[in-house]
Symmetry: C2
């Protein structure tokens, strides 16, 4: 038995809901972010990086789950009494930043930012408590041209990272139209804006779940409530049947032509000033986009898109990938949303008291990466290093010279630094590293001025497919003069 | 007077000690990290990204300031009782990760990682509580070839980002040599390793402050203690005069030739097994590096380098920039350290109980960036966008088409999205954005199929230096046919 320990060993584990990313997963993300930043930059957006930590006050409470107002963020109290928290999105920090620096920033201020955000939520498969977002926002202008620009840029961005036209669609809606519908349904009284706000919140979140719950589930949430598969019950908005029909009529107002959808919406909000304004805004964005060649194959008006966050005040948009993938249970389903955003005209006002209109988009970086992998579109190839094996520990300096020569020629290379005694372990290591080539130089080779080159990729291929005869004819290991090492390896690597 | 408010407005301010990075500051860092990653990759190191959050247990307490053991990290307790914290460096998470995945990782495991770390410390000018580190480590091998490789890679990295040879030096030492000196001084008894550990900690941190305090300050800390300029008193190690002399003899053992320094150290630790082992290790690394052409112009053995962190067990290294800059008070001083690291053979053992030797380097990204800026070596040029002005709000669609044309040609461009009424504001905006060119198309131009191009860079130059006569001859605004817009702008931008 083990001796009693003074202090127990710490557990070697990332905290629950957090994960680690290795090798290609890291470099692929960096490359994708670089491609996205390239498009954002071309559109005139400037880079910004705020700190991961904000005061709880500055962040505010805008996460969708209003039932648990203190949940959702990782927060702690400092010795001086301040409450700090990790950012849960990039929009709240932008509002703080714009309010802080508004006199120095250009107006309008277009900025992009990329980095991790943190949510103190239940994690699940592929759903972690730290994940990347990549946002672009325009602050300080109310023009719909800003919203149209964001949508066009989002389309360009998806294509720039490798999503083909036809494999995505950007769905566009407007919160003002939804508010108009609420007004028609008697759920919003402009003279008493706070009245029914709880019901409207439930309606908003119910529509947001249409994809997942279907029309029947949404109807249940609009009515008395819904029991999910696990038996948990979610309270409904307790709307009357007529009210439910009005809301569902809005949700299903999408028609084949944008102009028809717009007309249908205009009928639905007739008599509501805010609703009509919303329809006008939708129409203006759609026209600007269509004028720029962004037509129904890329951008559609879809009233079922509302976005869960509470702070949107006008246009909302969502990028959906339309190709099918197999889910965990082997069922085919649409890949779904990879980006979303909208106009939030009141966020900066929290700080300054003055209206500062703003609109923007957030790309779910990890989901977009997953989509690219699902389509086999990942364009980053990580080649393992050439491994220089160690036959004689005392000649380490000379092996180091060999790798230096290779690196100076731009070839990824390393010397084996484990215990060199067992040569088989060195080859196993090279295999684990995905090495294309191993180099061998023992005393005998050294004396003759040659090295052995072991072509590991060819070797693996031969081992898999070749007959014994072919094997003999296609040697995967051969000798070359030491001074031809770099040239020969270049040739093998096909450069 | 203002009306009483229901809830006070949140303060628009980043938390104390945190800061925001704009535009060029962000892109320069990204480009520098990319250059560093390129070198690390070529050396065979694999990318890794662990999460920003770790359990407090896994992180351990390794920050230098042992006087305040609960300080230094941002930590909070979860509802389930777990204590979590933001990582304070990249080494502690690596030890956790290696212990967690050791069966799946290649051995040795070379990895690099880059990202922010957080320290709950007093901030100061240019010293923030969130900053970037970029680390490379080799885990799972005790060979000095791994340490030599890290030092060589560090030199290559500094040159890759733009630090010229001669402007930096990598200083190398070994904790075992220091321990040998402690043994000779009677401050370390191998049979009772815990005895005098507090004194040794004070000695270590005192030597680490040599740069800042000078030999006199270090002597004070080795003796009875030191009062700093603010009047604060730091306790000393209370060594005897003989002990102080032995330690100071070690600190000043550097000679012109590496071989002489090594010999001097060998004399100083004579009789201490651990000290002699340390000198052997130093000699081996120095020989490997010299064999690879990394000589005294890049790498020196310097016994005054000890590194403050408690976990180092063998070689330690530090990259120092040797050129001078002016400090806040206009005094010329060496730029100083931008990277450091060393061997830490016991960190993984905390988790597994088994010895896992490891060594690595951490680059202080923000300090290295500051150095490049100080030398004018920053190689990222951020050009402002071409600004298409808005003369007629109703023709927004056509202005959008113009910017789309420019962007498709790879030219950064945007349409003015503020209120277009005041044309002067549009030009002020272009100026604030650093725009090279503004484009103007009113009704009259539109009818004639032309646009006005305003060369803002030339304009600014003329305004600064030209006489009235020259001004007339060098028009900075001219007319070109609409369909020659892209070609003309390309020409102006010099592409």
């Amino acid at each position: 038995m083990a001796k009693p320990k003074k202090t127990p060993r710490p557990k070697a584990q990332a905290p629950r809901g957090f994960t680690d990313y290795f090798g290609k997963d890291v470099t692929e993300r960096i490359e994708m972010l670089r491609a996205i930043a390239g498009v954002y930059h071309r559109y005139g957006f400037d880079a910004l990086e705020t700190s991961a930590v904000e005061t709880v006050d500055a962040l505010g409470k805008f996460l969708p789950d209003v039932d648990r107002p203190n949940e959702g963020v990782f927060a702690w109290q400092e010795e001086d009494g301040d409450w700090l928290a990790l950012r849960y999105d990039m929009t709240a920090p932008l509002a703080r930043l714009y309010a802080q620096y508004r006199d120095d920033l250009p107006s309008p201020y277009r900025r992009y930012t990329m980095g991790p955000v943190w949510r103190n939520e239940k994690s699940g498969p592929g759903r972690f408590r730290q994940f990347y977002q990549c946002d672009a926002d325009t602050v300080g202008t109310a023009t719909m041209a800003a919203d149209a620009e964001i949508c066009a840029m989002l389309a360009d961005t998806l294509e720039a990272v490798g999503i083909k036209r036809g494999d995505y669609v950007i769905r566009l809606n407007n919160r003002k139209v939804l508010n108009g519908v609420m007004q028609v349904a008697g759920l919003l009284d402009p003279s008493e804006p706070e009245k029914f706000s709880q019901e409207r919140g439930i309606v908003l979140r119910a529509i947001d779940k249409l994809d997942r719950l279907g029309p029947k589930g949404v109807r249940a949430l609009l009515g008395l409530g819904r029991k999910d598969d696990s038996g948990d019950f979610t309270d409904g908005a307790s709307l009357s049947e007529t009210q439910v029909e009005i809301v569902m009529g809005f949700v299903s107002a999408k028609r084949d032509l944008v102009s028809e959808t717009i007309e249908k919406l205009r009928t639905l909000v007739a008599g509501s000033a805010v609703g009509e304004k919303g329809v006008d805004e939708l129409e203006e964005i759609a026209e600007l986009l269509s004028g720029g060649g962004y037509d129904a194959d890329r951008i559609v008006v879809d009233p079922s898109v509302v976005r869960g966050l509470g702070y949107y005040t006008g246009p909302v948009y969502e990028a959906e990938l339309t190709f099918e993938i197999l889910d965990d249970k082997g069922r085919s389903r649409n890949f779904g949303s990879v980006a979303g955003g909208g106009r939030y005209d009141d966020l900066v006002k929290r700080f300054t008291g003055q209206e500062v209109p703003a609109t923007g988009i957030s790309i779910g970086v990890d989901r977009l990466l997953a989509a690219l992998r699902a389509k086999g579109h990942s364009n980053t190839e990580v080649t393992g290093p050439v491994v220089v094996t160690v036959m004689d520990r005392d000649r380490m300096g000379q092996y180091q010279e060999m790798v230096a020569e290779l690196r100076n020629a731009g070839i990824r290379a390393e010397v084996y630094l484990g215990n060199p005694k067992n040569f088989g372990n060195q080859l196993k290591y090279a295999d684990k590293r995905g090495s294309p080539i191993a180099i061998i130089e023992g005393d005998e080779e050294r004396d003759r001025g040659v090295i052995q080159i072991k072509d590991l990729i060819l070797g693996a291929k031969i081992a898999k497919t070749a007959t014994h005869e072919e094997w003999k004819e296609m040697p995967s290991q051969y000798e070359v003069p030491r001074n031809e090492m770099v040239a020969k390896i270049r040739e093998i690597l096909g450069r």
